[in-house]
């Protein structure tokens, strides 16, 4: 806005303001009514949905799939749709940071005098795209599976071996399923494909020791599993290193 447009705006605004109504009681009454609605909604939500409490936090058995609260689903889902691990940082840090900077600077790069939405096509298009993208990501994030079992046939060679190997394989399958791995990894037809790599054939890429090392000292944002009890950890490694 140049100086003429600024002065024109201030003149028009002072006329509109002078023709308006006093804040008290007119706007205050509306605000008060809205406050009652907000309070009623909060109380209703509290009474209907209550406040649950999950199992106690336990750093050693990670039997809970980590999921954020719903208003972070769009960030969570963004993390999952960006598949290549080289781009993970772009999804976790890059996109939110750029979004925040663009939001901060909005009044400094959108300086046109026009305020009517129908005459600001670029702004409105951006608005629709951003809202639609956030809504879609939130929806998909909400419906992302959080499975705690792996439905997968045990390979015949392990069944044939039987004994301790079979038992450890099955135990490891349960540990992996209950440790939240499937929130970010796909194993066969189970779990979410991303942000972590697909683990269906992980043993073909990584030797046993590399699998164990990754579990202890993973790439962020994956949590470390070094606090798992040794037998569970061993079972998980045994299971993963059979995924060829």
């Amino acid at each position: 806005m140049n100086r003429v447009e600024k002065e024109q705006y201030l003149r028009d605004y002072s006329v509109l303001k002078a023709q308006g109504k006093p804040f008290f009681p007119y706007a205050v009454a509306k605000d008060g009514a809205m406050a009652c609605v907000v309070l009623a909604v909060i109380i209703t939500l509290s009474l209907v949905l209550g406040a649950g409490q999950g199992p106690k936090a336990n750093p050693t058995t990670t039997s809970y799939v980590p999921r954020p609260d719903w208003y972070f689903f769009f960030l969570f889902e963004l993390l999952r749709v960006v598949k290549p691990s080289s781009l993970t940082q772009l999804a976790t840090i890059g996109v939110p940071t750029i979004g925040m900077i663009l939001l901060f600077l909005l009044p400094f790069y959108d300086r046109g005098p026009e305020r009517r939405p129908e005459r600001r096509p670029i702004a409105m298009l951006t608005f629709v795209v951003v809202v639609a993208a956030m809504a879609l990501l939130t929806y998909k994030g909400a419906h992302a599976g959080d499975p705690t079992t792996i439905g997968m046939a045990t390979p015949p060679r392990i069944v044939r071996t039987g004994g301790a190997t079979l038992a450890e394989y099955e135990a490891g399958k349960a540990v992996v399923a209950q440790s939240g791995c499937l929130a970010c990894h796909k194993i066969g037809e189970n779990g979410n494909d991303g942000p972590g790599p697909n683990l269906t054939h992980v043993a073909a890429r990584l030797p046993v020791l590399a699998v164990a090392r990754t579990l202890v000292n993973p790439t962020a944002p994956m949590p470390s599993f070094k606090n798992l009890p040794p037998n569970k950890f061993k079972a998980a490694v045994a299971f993963l290193s059979q995924l060829k």
Partner: protein
């Protein structure tokens, strides 16, 4: 107070008017009681001059065409106040003790305390309501072009408030200290730590070290109930000051009618 008309008595029966300098005499106790409120307000105002500020805040005009969409900001403020009040009650019972005290105190609030689950539910769902309202308020501001001259600075403050609201939502998530809280926070913290430049330092600061320890929980608690709410309250003050000073925007479709008789500035 309006004076009632005097009864039509002959002048001989009327009470004589007060002599010059006598005034109206001392007020009767009933009249004094009626005036008590005004007296107190006068007493305070004589020492603080707050009535000017109150008039400036309450009796400013809002532009023609102001509608229900303009209540979203105050609704967000109200949600924040609700969070503050319920938060105070929760803080009376909560213990930021990672060894088990935190989880147990939340269980105590939910199961034992009178109306405990209700207040905790209000705080929990109030957070969602506040996030929704913040975004709706921002959407309204964007659609109406209300971030443009002269309100750019208020937009920037609003974006800071939005981010601080999300920080509140994130730090509050850990406090119940159940599995969900713990693991979601671990992941959020790991993500923070991957950030460029300040990322690792911020991650270490939030965790209070390279590992999640007992201090992490009390640190999140302090951030959640002291640091960020204080910042939010201060910034809401600045936000409201600018709203009052600059005035709320008129809806962008308002027609400007320049006939001078419509533009009386007196309320």
């Amino acid at each position: 107070m309006a004076r009632r008309p005097a009864p039509p008595l002959p002048s001989a029966l009327k009470a004589p008017p007060p002599r010059p300098g006598e005034g109206n005499g001392p007020l009767s106790p009933v009249e004094q009681a009626k005036e008590a409120g005004i007296t107190v307000v006068d007493w305070v105002d004589e020492r603080t001059s707050l009535s000017g500020a109150a008039r400036w805040l309450m009796f400013r005009k809002v532009p023609k065409g102001t509608n229900w969409y303009y209540t979203l900001g105050s609704a967000t403020l109200f949600a924040f106040l609700s969070q503050a009040v319920t938060g105070v009650f929760l803080a009376m019972f909560y213990r930021p003790d990672a060894a088990g005290g935190a989880y147990e105190s939340i269980r105590h609030i939910t199961d034992d305390v009178f109306l405990g689950q209700f207040v905790r539910g209000m705080h929990l769902w109030g957070a969602s309501v506040m996030v929704v309202l913040v975004f709706l308020h921002m959407g309204r501001t964007f659609l109406f072009g209300a971030y443009k001259y002269p309100r750019e600075l208020n937009w920037v403050i609003g974006v800071v408030l939005l981010i601080l609201t999300m920080v509140m939502a994130l730090t509050g998530y850990l406090l119940p200290f159940d599995q969900r809280a713990y693991w979601a926070t671990i992941v959020a913290n790991n993500i923070t730590a991957t950030g460029p430049l300040v990322g690792p330092y911020l991650g270490d600061f939030l965790r209070s070290g390279p590992e999640f320890t007992a201090t992490t929980l009390s640190r999140f608690y302090a951030i959640h109930m002291l640091l960020v709410p204080g910042a939010i309250a201060a910034l809401i003050g600045a936000h409201l000051y600018l709203v009052t000073k600059l005035g709320t925007t008129a809806p962008p479709w308002s027609k400007v009618d320049r006939r001078p008789e419509l533009s009386e500035t007196e309320v």
